[in-house]
């Protein structure tokens, strides 16, 4: 009955009645307006009321920061006094400036939205489905859908993202760690603790370039320091013993320099040819596939233009509008869920073309609904409203999400159990309009619970078609 982890097509007929545009329900104005970040479907955490965004796993960002701070701290404490005395006072000044720049760039890279694409709304997803020719039953995941388009007279294949329910724009890739489609996806960098994409690539590049300078600078200064010390008639070993911190710095810098310089060089090449790491690794535009010298349709065929476009181009805005307020119609299902009384559901079944099995589900829910179990940790995420009406089984997400059975909460109301900050969003519900067609399979009780909530009457703003 309830098929788990299966892909289900969205029934466009059931969706079309749901108006996505702002629909004010004045009866619910007492509900606190929620910001969109609170219902963001991806695996991200938000701080400062949505101003700062981080993936749910911050990778080794603390280690990166720690290494930089410790190395610079040792440098300023142990090497600078000697060097200032023997050389020039500019050494700590330059070191300080580089350090500040590195930390700023790193934090900016980590805390910036890399270019996350919001998921398709239910109507959009249904519209796309209509255009895709699907035949056969949906008892198994259909083959990957692709669409071919021409970009600058070159054929490019766009893939369909099953999680975000849309055709990915060119150069966009879905990051399974963050569970988001990211524009101009370069790679997910664990050192930085974030994806590197369109919006933060320039910060990432300035980070690695400035870090290369910083490590080279510290390395050079430490070598100079030890050399100068040993020139005063002392042996090398003695100099090292006098300044043991320098050895630590040397070791750290020595190992970092190879990787950082290499990475900087690699990314400089990528920028000059207007490529992403993703494309380079996959060999999307390698010469064996295309006859021309440069098969990359995005390249401006001039190194300078490519560099300027990537690094100094216009800064695109964040598309996910973290701090925007949810319009009341989007917040309503959560409100209904929080209410104990359950008004009888009559409207939808008449107006919509419900399947018989859905009606059975709804009837069962009236009997088995447990109001208090709204935030079980292990309940998979489901989308509310019309999507449930169209069928009992929930759609599965991409297999990369562990067969769509991640422990996600069902929609939560005002979420009293969740802490106000740094919520792991996989525990948050995904309200329909933001996370429309992202449906994970659910066992029948929770599904029936959710669909029951959805079934809450006209308050949800359903406008049936006549």
């Amino acid at each position: 009955m309830m098929k788990n982890c299966e892909y289900q097509q969205i029934d466009p007929r059931a969706l079309s009645v749901l108006p996505q545009s702002a629909q004010n329900n004045t009866e619910k104005t007492v509900q606190r307006s929620r910001r969109k970040w609170e219902v963001f479907p991806g695996k991200n955490r938000f701080f400062c009321d949505g101003r700062i965004i981080l993936p749910s796993q911050s990778g080794v960002l603390p280690l990166t920061l720690g290494l930089i701070v410790v190395t610079c701290g040792l440098f300023f404490a142990f090497d600078c006094p000697f060097l200032v005395k023997h050389l020039t006072v500019f050494i700590p000044v330059i070191g300080g400036a580089l350090f500040v720049f590195v930390v700023f760039s790193l934090l900016r890279t980590s805390f910036t939205d890399p270019g996350i694409l919001p998921r398709a709304t239910p109507d959009e997803a249904a519209d796309i489905e209509k255009q895709i020719d699907t035949s056969g039953s949906s008892t198994y995941r259909p083959p990957p859908r692709t669409k071919e388009i021409l970009i600058n007279q070159q054929v490019v294949k766009l893939k369909y993202c099953f999680t975000c329910k849309m055709f990915r724009p060119p150069r966009t890739s879905h990051c399974s760690l963050c569970d988001n489609c990211v524009e101009r996806f370069d790679h997910h960098c664990p050192w930085v603790g974030n994806c590197v994409g369109k919006r933060n690539y320039r910060f990432f590049y300035s980070f690695i370039i400035s870090l290369s300078f910083l490590t080279s600078f510290i390395f050079g200064c430490v070598i100079t320091h030890i050399t100068l010390r040993s020139q005063d008639g002392k042996s090398l070993v003695q100099s090292i013993q006098e300044s043991p911190a320098s050895v630590v710095e040397l070791v750290i810098c020595f190992f970092s320099i190879w990787s950082i310089l290499g990475l900087s060089g690699f990314h400089t090449y990528l920028i000059a040819s207007n490529l992403t790491t993703n494309e380079d690794i996959k060999g999307s535009w390698s010469s064996k596939r295309c006859a021309e010298e440069s098969g990359n349709p995005y390249s401006y065929n001039s190194i300078i233009t490519n560099c300027c476009a990537t690094l100094c181009g216009p800064m695109p805005p964040s598309l996910i509008d973290r701090r925007g307020f949810l319009s009341l119609d989007e917040a309503i299902p959560a409100v209904s869920a929080s209410e104990i009384e359950l008004p009888p559901f009559t409207v939808k079944s008449d107006a919509h073309m419900c399947t018989q099995s859905t009606k059975d589900v709804l009837e069962r829910m009236f009997h088995s609904y447990d109001v208090h179990g709204l935030c079980p940790p292990a309940t998979p995420k489901t989308t509310p409203l019309d999507l449930e009406v169209s069928g009992p089984a929930a759609a599965s997400s991409e297999p990369s999400l562990s067969a769509g059975c991640l422990p996600q909460d069902a929609r939560q109301p005002v979420a009293p159990p969740c802490p106000p900050f740094s919520r792991s969003n996989k525990r948050r519900d995904s309200l329909h309009s933001i996370n429309p067609a992202f449906r994970l399979a659910s066992p029948s009780p929770s599904l029936s619970r959710t669909t029951f909530i959805l079934g809450d009457a006209p308050d949800n703003g359903f406008i049936p078609l006549p």
Partner: protein, 143 residues
């Protein structure tokens, strides 16, 4: 039968009949452009030329936002030199144009589309993926 809910002040008792989605046009690369092909669902509601003019203006505005010119380069270099802290106090060129676009869409909705029972949704609300045109039912047909 069912009580409908008001959408906006100018949409009292109107029901959504359909939605048309105008997808992005990637023929020139990843710059933000929308397909300006006139959708068949709108044939009865609006003049083709009017619609194409709206689309063309929108596409031009987006092109202006993403233009690689001296202004964007100066902005980029300045941002880099200030370790990107300048964006904390200044609005980027892109954001300024987006505001212009929002105003333009609002204006078009008020003057042209609303009287014909249509509503253009600002693409930024859909992640710059589509322009959503909501077609409302003809009021003379509603109860």
């Amino acid at each position: 039968m069912v009580e409908t809910h008001s959408l906006q002040d100018m949409r009292q008792q109107a029901a959504v009949a359909a939605k048309v989605f105008l997808q992005r046009d990637y023929s020139n690369g990843t710059v933000c452009q929308f397909q300006s092909k006139f959708p068949s669902e709108l044939e009865t509601r609006i003049d083709k030329q009017q619609f194409e003019e709206t689309m063309q203006t929108l596409n031009n505005l987006y092109a202006e936002a993403e233009k690689l010119g001296s202004q964007s380069y100066i902005e980029g270099c300045l941002a880099c030199l200030t370790a990107y802290t300048v964006f904390l106090c200044m609005e980027t060129h892109y954001e300024k144009v987006l505001k212009k676009i929002a105003k333009y869409i609002q204006e078009q909705n008020d003057k042209i589309y609303a009287p014909r029972g249509l509503l253009l949704t600002d693409p930024i609300e859909r992640g710059l993926r589509v322009i959503e045109v909501t077609i409302f039912e003809d009021r003379s047909l509603t109860r």
